[in-house]
Symmetry: C2
Subunit: 145 residues, 2 copies
């Protein structure tokens, strides 16, 4: 495969509300999107844009807060109560082709492609097969960029 | 302050040589810079470019391997033997102004500004004050972008 755009860095937080204040007041973010629930994944998410020279398409920060019943993010927060860097997400043109390529390389794809926070199919690859980085692969939104 | 460009994501690795193979062969990176030692920080580093629609200025991945005698990255790798996400780095126009602003907000700046991997002054801010994210602040290279 060919390396795709670094769409976002997933950052777990115990409170998206508090993180929004942090990114606005401390870091000076000016484009913070509306938080929303992603019940299929058991999380609430909120995207923070980072600037680029062109103004286009900076890598986003995806704030992630566990919804009740979530175990994976809740477990991460037990180990990292203040929150922290959780995953890195790259875009691909075709999610099924990407899944087949990772699997052909012996990488553990975690489940079938499902709709992610940007409304396109995503999957995760096991961090132990990816240099310790939990890696999300997402299909580029049609018409994006 | 105003949120600056997300310059890079620091990713610790036990072997930059192995990580270069991973980013080239598995992730399909096409622009991998020459690794070099940064002895003042006790690390070897290597930048991997990620693509953007304009071809300009994607957020980089900074691979970081400890040099002998390094304790901070070596300690991180003891807890995360495969490596993993280590820090996030944002650009600012003036490193001393940024340091004063973080300190005025009660954030623990770790040491005085020093020359970082891109040849401009940098400092780190304590992750416990930054939502669990070890945060590097770097002055934008003059004439860059």
């Amino acid at each position: 495969m060919k390396l795709g755009r670094l769409n976002h860095i997933g950052v777990a937080t115990p409170s998206i509300a508090d993180s929004i204040v942090f990114y606005r007041e401390v870091m000076g973010a000016t484009k913070i999107h509306e938080p929303f629930d992603l019940p299929e994944q058991g999380v609430k998410v909120c995207f923070v844009d980072t600037p680029t020279d062109t103004g286009l398409n900076g890598t986003q920060i995806e704030l992630i807060e566990p919804l009740p019943g979530n175990t994976s993010i809740a477990g991460f927060l037990e180990k990292n109560p203040a929150g922290g860097q959780h995953h890195m997400c790259y875009e691909v043109p075709d999610i099924h082709a990407a899944k087949a390529e990772f699997e052909a390389m012996g990488k553990r794809v975690l489940g079938e492609p499902r709709i992610g926070a940007h409304g396109t199919p995503i999957f995760f690859v096991h961090p132990k097969d990816m240099g310790g980085v939990l890696t999300e692969i997402m299909e580029t939104p049609k018409g994006a960029h």
